[in-house]
């Protein structure tokens, strides 16, 4: 298929995933090289680490250049390709196949790359935000002995993530899909000496695998139905199957995969635990990129979801419920990273509401703005935690550096971080003219518009009319927006305002993060401020209107139209909706201002949470419930029932059976051959009679 991009710089798009992979290999080698030479393989572990540590300074310097270097190169290439694409009207996706992967009979799966408006946008976000986070990590992880290993994993993650968004078929996407799961496992459990960290990594991988099971089944369904796994071919063939049970099944199984990867109910349980990893990891993987893979998948598979309105309604409903659920839990979290984790789950819910209602552009828009402001929040939290660690190290105390109760008044010590985080908080709360307002408002307005009139509203999910569901989702969205504003402001206030609770001695050591950490945070904050310009609504034409909408039109436009029809709200209604959204945000900030300005005790002296507050703090005790209902019975089944029960039984049957057989045979033998001649004579007589009878009684 000839496209306008043939022969342009887009031909080098294969470098995009390969550059970070190369970085990963180099960094990985550098991580292991000090231990490779013979000196490293004997002696105690302490001796070995000492011997290796001497070489660390050199290798760390190389890693500090290679890791962000490949990211910046990839970003540069992505920008160049983007610029080329902007100059060209690309109607068909640019697909390049590099090699056969699994050609088996009629199944043909290739290593292919697909460049279109959606994938280049994701690539820009991944490489851009990723590069900034790499720079931040140079400062954050400076003193860590696993420096090179960290960057190897981080580069590898980006390589897999780019494979995910640039793949030309569901199979190649799946390679990236599981690959990022692997890197997530490695990075969450980065400080693996603590069992809790290793457990968190393991939990993430396993819960993701449950989603992967859904993805695999969806792939089988797709192939069984249309005979190809390529996006272009499959979507064309599936277009005619709108409304069928097959399409619905495919969509539902794909959504199971998304629920696992993007932490939606009920597979979100790994995300809060994932905060055990280094904070930049949380920023990159669990805020900006990996968890958004599910949203990307639905946008990519939009023809499928557009043809299965029930599935789309389910997606939106689950998204809305997840958003509300997570927001309630975030209200009562004391660990700053946990607040942000649940906030991420909640915002992901918004994105799923968007793609579920067919507003794919809105979902991607929120994905991008969320990447900006959530990265700021996580990196800022990272700066704060870094500062508190440093302070406690200074006084040799071992308090929790992540607990909000141990913070307070940090605006005095970390003004730049404070400014950035304030901007990000306002963005996530949805205050205009920050980016979060535009993206969140677009989602809510789109939902409302579709609730008023659209093919989606006319569909039903389990008997409930789509219209009612969409209105309910809108309401949930508004309530969640209110709660979002409350808990985010609470976090900001507790950390940065009021009296400092870290301790008098520690305050001497509290200071702003180094430039290499603050720089990326500020850049991202500016992006969070200005990101709204990507897709201004017609209501507020302060710049180019609907830029993102136009950009993504060739990819998702048709599917969006199938679900939304000609849904268009009147200007009056739109203004009211915008007003409600802004009101919810402002009200939330005000409520938080009132509730949380009172002074707190630091963590050591704080009372334990009681009652409903305690339930929220424990996230509705879901983890304990899952442990009791799923994990323990499964282990019990595997251990007591199967291993010690059934397997022993099966083995015993065969072994005992063999024993009984041979013992019976020997018993018969013993009885027959006991030397009693009389018995022999009997047998002789009996045998002779039998023979006579056989011969005569024919």
């Amino acid at each position: 298929m000839k496209t306008a991009l043939d022969g342009s710089i887009a031909e080098y798009a294969w470098l995009l995933p390969l550059l970070p992979l190369l970085g990963a290999l180099i960094n990985g080698f550098l991580a292991i090289a000090p231990r490779l030479s013979g000196r490293g393989t004997t002696g105690t572990v302490a001796e070995r680490e000492l011997a290796a540590g001497a070489r660390h300074a050199g290798t760390n310097a190389i890693v500090s250049i290679v890791a962000p270097g490949v990211m910046l190169l990839a970003f540069g290439l992505a920008v160049a390709i983007f610029a080329t694409m902007r100059g060209v009207a690309l109607e068909e996706p640019f697909v390049r196949v590099f090699a056969r992967w699994m050609p088996v009979g009629e199944l043909v799966v290739d290593w292919g790359l697909q460049l279109d408006q959606l994938s280049i946008l994701m690539t820009l976000v991944i490489t851009g935000v990723g590069a900034l986070i790499h720079l931040f990590s140079i400062g954050y992880m400076k003193a860590d002995p696993g420096y090179a290993r960290y960057f190897a994993y981080l580069n590898l993650f980006v390589a897999f993530m780019l494979t995910l968004v640039l793949g030309s078929s569901y199979a190649v996407l799946f390679v990236g899909w599981e690959g990022v799961g692997l890197c997530s496992y490695l990075l969450i459990g980065f400080w693996f000496s603590e069992k809790a960290n290793a457990d968190a990594g393991k939990k993430a991988f396993i819960v993701n695998r449950i989603g992967d099971f859904g993805f695999l089944v969806a792939m089988f369904l797709i192939w069984a139905t249309v005979g190809t796994l390529d996006f272009v071919g499959a979507h064309q063939a599936l277009a005619g199957l709108g409304g069928s049970a097959v399409l619905l099944s495919i969509a539902l199984f794909l959504f199971l995969g998304c629920a696992g990867k993007s932490a939606q109910l009920p597979l979100y349980v790994w995300l809060p635990d994932a905060m055990a990893g280094p904070t930049p990891v949380s920023a990159l993987i669990h805020a900006a990129t990996m968890v958004t893979a599910g949203v990307y998948l639905i946008a990519r598979a939009s023809p499928i979801f557009a043809g299965a309105p029930e599935a789309s309604l389910l997606v939106a409903l689950v998204g809305a419920l997840t958003a509300l659920f997570a927001a309630t839990v975030a209200l009562r979290q004391w660990d700053i990273k946990k607040v942000l984790a649940y906030s991420t789950v909640s915002q992901l819910g918004y994105m799923f509401v968007a793609v579920g209602t067919g507003a794919y552009t809105a979902g991607v828009f929120h994905l991008v703005t969320h990447a900006f402001f959530k990265a700021v929040l996580f990196l800022g939290a990272g700066s704060v935690i870094h500062a508190l660690h440093h302070a406690y190290h200074h006084t040799h105390r071992h308090e929790d550096a992540q607990d909000l109760r141990n913070m307070g008044g940090l605006s005095r010590y970390m003004p730049a971080t404070f400014a950035a985080m304030t901007m990000a908080t306002l963005a996530i709360a949805g205050i205009p003219p920050l980016s979060g307002f535009f993206s969140k408002d677009e989602i809510l307005s789109a939902t409302f518009a579709r609730a008023v009139s659209s093919p989606l509203a006319n569909a039903t999910l389990l008997g409930i009319p789509g219209r009612s569901l969409l209105y309910a989702i809108y309401a949930l969205g508004i309530v969640t927006a209110l709660l979002t504003a409350i808990y985010m402001t609470r976090m900001l206030l507790m950390a940065f305002t009021g009296a400092n609770r870290t301790g008098a001695a520690e305050q001497e050591a509290l200071h702003e993060a180094p430039a290499i950490m603050t720089g990326p945070v500020v850049i991202l904050a500016l992006l969070a401020l200005a990101g709204g310009w990507l897709n201004l609504p017609t209501l507020i034409p302060i710049g180019p209107v609907g830029a993102l909408e136009h950009w993504l039109e060739p990819v998702v436009g048709a599917s969006a139209a199938r679900l939304s029809g000609t849904a268009k709200l009147s200007h009056g209604t739109e203004q009211v909706l915008v007003g409600i959204a802004i009101a919810a945000a402002v009200l939330g900030i005000a409520v938080a201002w009132v509730l949380y300005r009172r002074p707190l005790q630091d963590k050591a002296h704080s009372p334990a949470d009681r009652g409903f507050a305690g339930v929220l703090a424990n996230a509705y005790n879901v983890d304990a419930a899952v442990d009791a209902a799923v994990v323990r019975p499964l282990d019990g089944l595997a251990g007591a029932v199967l291993t010690r029960g059934i397997d022993v039984g099966v083995d015993g049957t065969f072994s005992a059976g063999g024993g009984i057989l041979s013992r019976t045979a020997s018993l018969i033998g013993q009885r027959l051959q006991d030397g009693d001649v009389g018995k022999y004579a009997w047998l002789l007589a009996a045998g002779a009679l039998a023979m006579l009878a056989a011969l005569t009684l024919r």
């Binding site: 051959q673 030397g675 001649v677 009389g678 022999y680």
Partner: protein, 97 residues
């Protein structure tokens, strides 16, 4: 006439078989074996009336072989008695496998 003779022969044969199988004294077993042989002789003689002199020839052969067999067999019994001290067949289990 022949039928009655054959019937007597069959009865004698069965008595002989039962005796061989159930009696424990070796001498008695031999006597029963002789009884079996004589029963067969009787049926040969009876059938010779129908089929000619071949039956009588067989009777003479059987008698001769019975005599030889009795001689050898009784010699074995005497040998067994010398070794085991009794002729009770239940206590001779040298053929035990």
């Amino acid at each position: 006439m022949i039928a009655e003779a054959l019937a007597v022969s069959a009865v004698l044969f069965c008595i002989g078989v039962v005796g061989v199988l159930t009696r424990r004294n070796a001498i008695i077993v031999f006597m029963c074996a002789e009884l079996m042989l004589n029963a067969v002789n009787l049926s040969f003689v009876a059938l010779a009336k129908m089929h000619g002199v071949t039956g009588h020839v067989f009777v003479v052969m059987v008698m001769t072989i019975a005599a030889a067999e009795a001689a050898v067999g009784l010699a074995i019994v005497i040998s067994v008695f010398r070794h085991f001290g009794s002729v009770d067949l239940g206590s001779v289990r040298m053929l035990r496998g």
